[in-house]
Symmetry: C2
């Protein structure tokens, strides 16, 4: 009856994945109904449960389809730099390039859906749904420690905890820059130039490096007068 683990019927499966990916970006997971997905994909409502098993499983497959490739690309970029360095610590800009540069290049690919997926991924970092969070944690388990270690070696004078915070901030700036394009208009009236998908990368990479290498704050916090919220 069912063929949940099978690889058959490439057409229907791919059509569903494409439609779901686009609709998840547009409306979020909860607000995207299976009837909306199957309607856009031009397939029968029951096709999702037949091919994927459930809506949750579909969501996971939407991520798996591209995230595995993305993380492998990040790792191989890092390893290429490490081979070039021959045992010496990498430069910070190389590590940032390997992780964020690869991501931004995928986000610049509007032809094959990479752009849509990266918007979805950025949105999802703030998604509270438990099973999505767990899934992302598993997918990142292999790649994050490698980048952490590379950063520790590249910035021996910066406390490791500070590096982790800054990695977190960089991830946020990128995710938001990709996922929150509406907010960009809100703030500035700017719009992403579709003709030049590399523009974001050219703007963002210097910002990330500037933040990563910012001087450390002194031991005394420089906040002024803590104030209560209303």
């Amino acid at each position: 009856m069912r063929a949940i683990d099978a690889k058959q019927s490439p057409d229907t499966r791919e059509r569903i994945l494409d439609a779901a990916e686009a609709l998840f970006v547009e409306h979020g997971f909860e607000a995207t109904s299976m009837r909306l997905i199957t309607g856009r994909a031009g397939v029968n409502l029951a096709a999702i449960n037949y091919h994927f098993g459930s809506k949750e499983a579909l969501i996971q497959d939407v991520f798996r389809r591209r995230l595995t490739w993305l993380n492998e690309a990040r790792l191989s970029a890092l390893e290429r730099f490490e081979k070039e360095a021959g045992g010496a610590p990498l430069k910070p800009h190389q590590i940032v390039e390997a992780f964020f540069g690869v991501s931004l290049r995928m986000a610049a690919d509007t032809a094959h859906g990479g752009h849509t997926f990266m918007r979805l991924l950025g949105r999802t970092y703030t998604e509270p749904s438990a099973f999505v969070r767990q899934f992302l944690a598993d997918e990142y388990a292999a790649v994050v420690p490698r980048f952490k270690q590379a950063l520790f070696r590249a910035l021996p004078d910066v406390p490791p905890e500070e590096i982790l915070w800054r990695f977190h901030f960089m991830l946020g700036a990128m995710s938001y820059a990709i996922a929150g394009t509406d907010a960009l208009q809100l703030v500035s009236g700017l719009e992403l130039d579709e003709k030049d998908p590399e523009a974001l990368s050219r703007r963002l990479m210097p910002f990330l490096l500037g933040g990563l290498r910012a001087p450390l704050a002194g031991p005394a916090a420089k906040t002024r007068n803590p104030r209560k919220a209303a």
Copy 2:
């Protein structure tokens, strides 16, 4: 029958707003049912429609309750610096302090719900729902142009477009740092120290300033080999 515009019944209204705020952060707008909200608030299901009119109106009131105050605090902080400067351009760190410092101080207020609200606000920047986006745009219309202009004056050597991008990146780093605490654990195993709510501010502000003042990229993009996504 209805008293949608009235200010009566402070207790029920506030209980609903508090419960909704917390649950929206935890589950998102769509996944938070009115039965869940009223159950947590200890009020009758019909109370939301009676006091607010609809679920959408409740969502807007959850934001309005704190966002108006936040934006006024941002503006007054900016104006205080401008008065001190007496017509001279502000320092970048003052502008960043006025906008992001005020926000982070609200996010550090765990006692009066400011922390919960700032997490919700951060989440919402990537929320695609149309009416929420429009609402946020209206609320920010008065404050954003003021900060834009202050930044243009503070950084006369940086192209205005570049400044807008970097403001966008800073907003992303902060939103994500506040809203995506789960992702922080994912990346690093770090956890926010509840005992020291100022920690985030002390870490984030130098990062934001480092990114804002980062050297401009040369006219020639330094990307290497554009690659297609699978």
